[in-house]
Symmetry: D2
Subunit: 110 residues, 4 copies
Amino acid sequence: MSSSPVPPRRTHDRQSQAPGYTVHKSDHLARLGKIEGQIRGISRMVTDDRYCIDVLTQITAASRALQEVALGLLDDHVRACVADAARTNPAQAEEKYTELNDTLRRALRL
Amino acid sequence: MSSSPVPPRRTHDRQSQAPGYTVHKSDHLARLGKIEGQIRGISRMVTDDRYCIDVLTQITAASRALQEVALGLLDDHVRACVADAARTNPAQAEEKYTELNDTLRRALRL
Amino acid sequence: MSSSPVPPRRTHDRQSQAPGYTVHKSDHLARLGKIEGQIRGISRMVTDDRYCIDVLTQITAASRALQEVALGLLDDHVRACVADAARTNPAQAEEKYTELNDTLRRALRL
Amino acid sequence: MSSSPVPPRRTHDRQSQAPGYTVHKSDHLARLGKIEGQIRGISRMVTDDRYCIDVLTQITAASRALQEVALGLLDDHVRACVADAARTNPAQAEEKYTELNDTLRRALRL
């Protein structure tokens, strides 16, 4: 599951619409860079035989940080892509709603 | 929250007990290395303006992989540290139960 | 937390817009009725001293069923309320996006 | 999934060990009774066409309350059943660790 392949490349350009998260792109990248550092720190803790519970505490923090990025991207997506489709393209909007729902289902682990 | 500081260093040695996850240490490290790669891949997707939903799908996969590591560490912890305290040291066992409960509370986001 | 008071009454009528979940209202009510029965069943299991793990399994099932209702309501909400605001009322749409984001934040336990 | 059947009846008596949650039984029942009321309240909100977001807020509260009961039962289970097996019956202890891990996997939605 963790090895889910990177999906076929879709950019916003190909969909001829503005990327929803462009305005917060550098924020998202900064957060992701920090999470990468958190994961590296967790690996170091395991290497150093640090106490299990302390490792788990850091995993929960990294996991929460990752969910924050997801929430930010979802917000950008709704404000840009979903709203845009709702305004201009009913058929595409239908697709967007279904896609959003599937994404939330996975995020909520249902 | 995502910036929760690395806690004061506790190793299993200091607690004079075998590290609970020693037997699976290389598994945990392999998984964490893979997750680090997943996070880097997500950053690259954002840099390349990949479609929001595809980025979110990868975040969910990385988040799930992280929870798998947590679950593995919890299992090791219960089988080694908690069980050991239950068998040999009632006072320390009390501490371990409370600590485990606090950790699960955070993992379940309560 | 579990005792969060029922918020001040807002109906869709007052907001002069169609209730987002009207079309699936009876589905949602059927699911909620079933969940109520699941909770009652869990109480009965505790009363009867049933094995902890079996009780926990039923709690997870009820919790998942509850998230399914939430997901269904979210879908209805996006397709009706959010989309409608996006199409007709930019200022109200802003409010809807923020409100949706806050709701997702709580649902994801962030 | 929400319709997962009540599993074959296992009581603690049959397993000839003290019920792990006996000491908190009335607490758990009180919480479950309250959650049942919350679910009924949510049904009423849907019946009354209350605003989707307000319904979702109450679902999140009920869901959290349910997780609190799960956490309490898990704590009781570890302190009684798991600890007892660790002290007295290595073979049964193995079973308990695996069972606990499976339960946490489901609770964490993995």
